[in-house]
């Protein structure tokens, strides 16, 4: 496990500002998170929850401020140590469940061997050879979660992770998140619904 035998992680942002389409989404945002901790980013629609996650993931360039990770792998940039689970599932309908997962394992540097175990963990082990096109929205989400497990990254960036999941799926996901935190991982999740685990709330764009 890459998690437990490495040092403590500390992710901190200072004065982070985000401008999208000429509009300032938020500015002067300070936040911090340490390993073993889950941070639930909340706020009304359009307050910049997704933008914050994408800033951390390096998919957006901050208009101001800095985001620093202490204690991580010195040879890797911050985005390379994150796994971003966005609204979209990054699955190819033409490929089978197994092929989808194996590709991301090869491309992002996970263990192919973990793939089968991850599929069992999310309850998709019966569907491994089926095309991803046959999966329902909830099952596609489950497959994305399996990718999260296969590619072991210490920082999980989750954007509304529980949408499309049924109650059993949310329970399963809660368990996975607790396990990840226990291994010394870090979770930053943008969410409206309760996350299902103990988390610290980070409210952005409070002024209405």
């Amino acid at each position: 496990m890459s998690g437990s035998n490495q040092g403590k992680l500390q992710l901190s942002g200072r004065g982070v500002a985000c401008v999208r389409g000429g509009r300032e989404v938020f500015s002067g945002l300070d936040f911090a998170a340490v390993s073993g901790e889950a941070v639930a980013v909340t706020g009304r629609n359009g307050s910049g929850k997704t933008s914050l996650l994408r800033l951390i993931a390096g998919l957006l360039i901050p208009a101001g401020g800095t985001i620093i990770l202490d204690g991580g792998d010195a040879e890797m940039t911050l985005p390379e140590q994150c796994h971003y689970l966005g609204h979209r599932d990054a699955l190819k309908p033409a490929l089978s469940v197994k092929e989808n997962l194996a590709f991301w394992a090869d491309f992002l540097g996970g263990e192919r061997g973990d793939a089968a175990a991850s599929l069992t963990a999310v309850g998709l082990d019966h569907a491994t050879h089926l095309p991803a096109a046959f999966l329902s929205a909830g099952q596609r989400r489950r497959l994305s979660l399996a990718r999260l497990l296969t590619i072991r990254r210490r920082i999980w960036l989750l954007d509304e992770p529980t949408t499309a999941l049924d109650v059993a799926g949310q329970d399963m996901f809660g368990g996975l998140m607790r396990e990840h935190l226990a291994r010394g991982g870090m979770i930053i999740a943008a969410t409206h619904a309760p996350l299902g685990i103990d988390s610290r709330e980070l409210r952005i764009g409070g002024a209405v």
Binding site: V122, G123, L124, A127, P131, A133, S136, Q139, D166, A168
Partner: protein
Amino acid sequence: MTLIDLANPTRFLALTARLLPWLAAATVILLAIGLYQSALAPDDYQQGATVKIMFIHVPNAWLSMFVWGVMSIASLGTLVWRHPLADVAAKAAAPIGASFTFLALLTGSLWGRPMWGTYWEWDARLTSVLILFLMYLGLMALWRAVDDPSRAARAAAVLTLVGAINLPIIKFSVDWWNTLHQPASVMRMGGSTLDKSFLIPLLVMAIAFTLLFVTLHLAAMRNEILRRRVRSLQMMQASRVAFSSAGPREGSASNEVGAA
């Protein structure tokens, strides 16, 4: 067996299983007779032995149009009567029709080489067949482009019927284009009526190839029905997984239902 009876795919499969061996046997016998007769056919006084190419070229050219006709009727079946097997028939026919059209082109150009000195001449007839071939390929691409067969069926049916209406227009314009540019320079197979010694083997070969098409078409339709069955079962399997993951108890229960 009426058309209504055939609407049931399972009954269709049973019928196909019974019919296919007989059809295959008839095809083989007729092909053997046809080949024997065309081997015995005399040489043409103008074309020599190359006239033997005619015995496979003409049946293939005939089938290239016949198959499009079959697909057009099937498309009507899809759009008008909503016969459940119509789009299966249309889809299964396309690759077979394309193969026959390809053979018509190939044998045509192999026949043309000794006659005209080039493999390809932008002759009205060959050009029309080439366009027909392209339309077959386009139709196959359309079937392949859409994952859900019932959704692809409508689009393919419309395209097939538009093609059926357009083909005579294309043929006419190509004729006109061709005569405009090179007035009757191309020598076709003697304009006079065919001699009996050619006609009989040609007819036998044409019937044999038609039977071959029917046999292959039925077999391909059977495959297509099975493929769709596999698809729907796989989709059921995909949705069942969600149940079984809810708890081990439910999963084993569904297995028992399946085994019973």
